[in-house]
Assembly symmetry: C2
Homo-oligomer: 422 residues x 2
């Protein structure tokens, strides 16, 4: 079996070196085209490869073709890691420049390869449960300094486990979905009683989302190797946050309506396998984690992340931060091992948000709260536009990629535009 | 149309006045019998009425019969309140003592009525999302006094909105499911660093669960009347809690693994309609809630709740508390209106826990944390047995019922026995 991550592989489909979707990537998504029902597809360059057509034509013999005529990846994910690998290897083979099977079959190419600009991309999987972590030390420290001062910035538990909370799965939406400004109870410090109205401190949070592809049983703890096997892939995730609603509601049970109105994810799920060449060791963990959280393998990825904001009358998004997934203190595998540690059952389709990804530099902050330092240092944009928090009409774009030698394994984007509370 | 809540109605099936399931109740559940696949049923006295058999035989013409040959109530709930009402009225008619259709049809009775002792009861619906509230003023005050002192017992936000958090849907289980003692990080105040091991302060919480039967759209706020229509029914709910895990993990994002290992519910969903005769006005709300949380109708139910504990070598459960749902400060309708207020989409199958139900008296406390006052006043049981928290082998039973004149509309029970962490 050849290595589908081999940097030397080339496809017969021409792929720009700056494209997110070379033959080394092959991310999964759900698309529809020509008014037909949704199907599973794989991104390659500027095209979507229709897995159902391939299976129907007898070119992809890894499972029942019906699995690919679905509105979500869940049934495919449920088949497990060996099917994921076989599918990826087979698709890689079919797309290789030196493999004639699809390359020289005009009819099949016409059926199975659709220009990405002509398809509609859907939420790629049915979100079984959504959990959001808080695992960047830089982010937790920034927020802590802002609200509790330097001395008490990190809570005592933070260095001992990946702190997280259950989020709301029903409002996870795909990139491009408009985000309505939420309403909620607001009580600024200088007034006596709360009022109800549109959020005034609307923010984003740059995160990665882990997509769980295999379940664990109630009562079962998860080893490192099992956790790796359960991870199907990753998406970009924007954890929209209403800072003013959050501030008033969150004691003592945590964020609730402040995060419940929307969470946006990118449409393509980049597989764990495609990210393997970009693994690296994350920050040193001190104190050494308890045994159930220890990892032997390098636990992070060298994954560049960029945030763009198109505010008000701007014609295009302006980069406002660039950071890297590698700064995360707690890894996705550690988050998953912790999540199951009490006996909590995990399901295929669970989505784990990494927590806001901030880096050590000021230019590497993953939320407007941090960038504008709680509104005290408004962000300055071209044309004299300033932003402390997001305004109606603002569009936020996140991108992410791992840079290889002459190619990149990328995530596309997650975009959301704010519409008025109405 | 006759009134299926009429206290004078009688069934041809003899029902003990102390039974939870007279003809005025007719709760829905999912059962299996004789090795067959699960079906939807209704409890009547000591019997389960098989809705699929009735539909197959042309006696229940409210929807496709296949809806009743299901492993969950979700598809039936999705049909909406007018179908729920039509079904309830029709079943009431079929079970009346003066209606010959089922009463005098030996063959149909044999097919459709199964002794409850012969069936297995399943989780009645697929839990789409699980949210847990904190809406008893007495409970919140007790916990506040214990951990923050009398002066700061209630947090400033508590009187302004139903405080809640997202729970974990994957571990909601039906009554009778064994509950494995969870493991987690424990850091007693007198040690420097946490350790990982079995929870030492395992507790229950007596709650009611609201079962949402109709969805709301993302961005949609919910009026009182719409909230009423969305509520399909209620179950008993035991929100198992690991107090020591919770204490160390919950700042600042709320309970996570301390609640994620198990939540038990009763197998029968008592409909909102069956509870109508028992509505009453709950505690006065001061300050008056913000307009989006105001209710015109009486917002509570006169619903007696009892907790039994069979500890160690005891032969039977001993009552350790008796309280009433009517003490709840925030109502289920208010919880639902608040839940959707940010634009959070609700789904059929969402489960909203009321929060621990404690009353004003010491004998009305809904958790062992309160009963034993954080372990300082151990509960004394027959045979010299004492309990500060739950031990392995302990069995906890919750019951609930609305008392009518000569009948009761009851919930059966939710039982769970603790097994060792292993």
């Amino acid at each position: 079996m050849f290595n589908p991550n081999d940097p030397k592989l080339r496809s017969f489909i021409s792929v720009d070196p700056a494209s997110d979707f070379p033959i080394q990537n092959l991310p999964y998504g759900v698309f529809s085209a020509n008014g037909l029902a949704p199907r599973l597809g794989i991104a390659i360059g500027d095209y979507v490869l229709d897995l159902w057509e391939l299976a129907q034509e007898g070119r992809l013999d890894v499972c029942e073709p019906a699995v690919f005529a679905a509105t979500s990846l869940n049934a495919f994910m449920a088949l497990g890691p060996s099917v994921w690998t076989r599918t990826r290897v087979r698709i890689s083979e079919l797309l290789r420049h030196d493999h004639p099977e699809l390359r020289d079959n005009d009819e099949l190419r016409k059926l199975a390869l659709l220009p990405m600009k002509d398809v509609k991309l859907h939420l790629p999987f049915t979100v079984a449960g959504y959990t959001d972590f808080y695992s960047s030390k830089e982010h937790a420290t920034n927020v802590g300094v802002m609200f509790r001062g330097k001395e008490n910035a990190l809570q005592p538990n933070w260095l001992h486990m990946p702190i997280g909370y259950n989020g709301r799965a029903s409002t996870v939406v795909v990139s491009g979905t408009k985000v309505r400004r939420p309403r909620g109870q607001l009580k600024p410090p200088n007034v006596d009683a709360p009022s109800f109205g549109p959020c005034k401190r609307l923010d984003f949070e740059l995160e990665m989302g882990v997509v769980i592809g295999q379940p664990s049983a109630m009562g079962e703890m998860i080893s490192e190797s099992r956790a790796e096997e359960m991870i199907f892939g990753f998406v970009l995730l924007n954890d929209w946050s209403a800072r003013d609603i959050q501030q008033w509601e969150y004691v003592p049970l945590g964020p609730f309506q402040a995060k419940a109105f929307a969470t946006s994810i990118s449409p393509w799920v980049v597989t764990r396998e495609a990210l393997e060449p970009f693994r690296l060791q994350g920050p040193e963990q001190d104190p050494v984690p308890l045994p159930y959280l220890r990892q032997a393998r390098p636990n992070n990825y060298d994954l560049t992340l960029e945030i763009g904001l198109r505010a008000g009358a701007m014609n295009e998004a302006q980069s406002i931060a660039r950071t890297n997934f590698k700064y995360m203190y707690w890894s996705s595998v550690q988050q998953l091992m912790h999540h199951a540690s009490s006996g909590c059952a995990m399901n295929a389709g669970d989505l784990l948000g990494s927590g806001t990804i901030s880096g050590p530099e000021k230019t590497q902050r993953g939320s407007l709260l941090e960038i504008s330092w709680n509104g005290t240092e408004p962000l300055e944009l071209p044309g004299g536009i300033k932003r402390s928090f997001l305004e109606d009409g603002d569009s936020l774009v996140m991108r992410g990629w791992c840079q290889g030698d002459g190619y990149r394994v990328g995530f596309g984007e997650v975009e959301g535009t704010i519409v008025a509370a109405g």
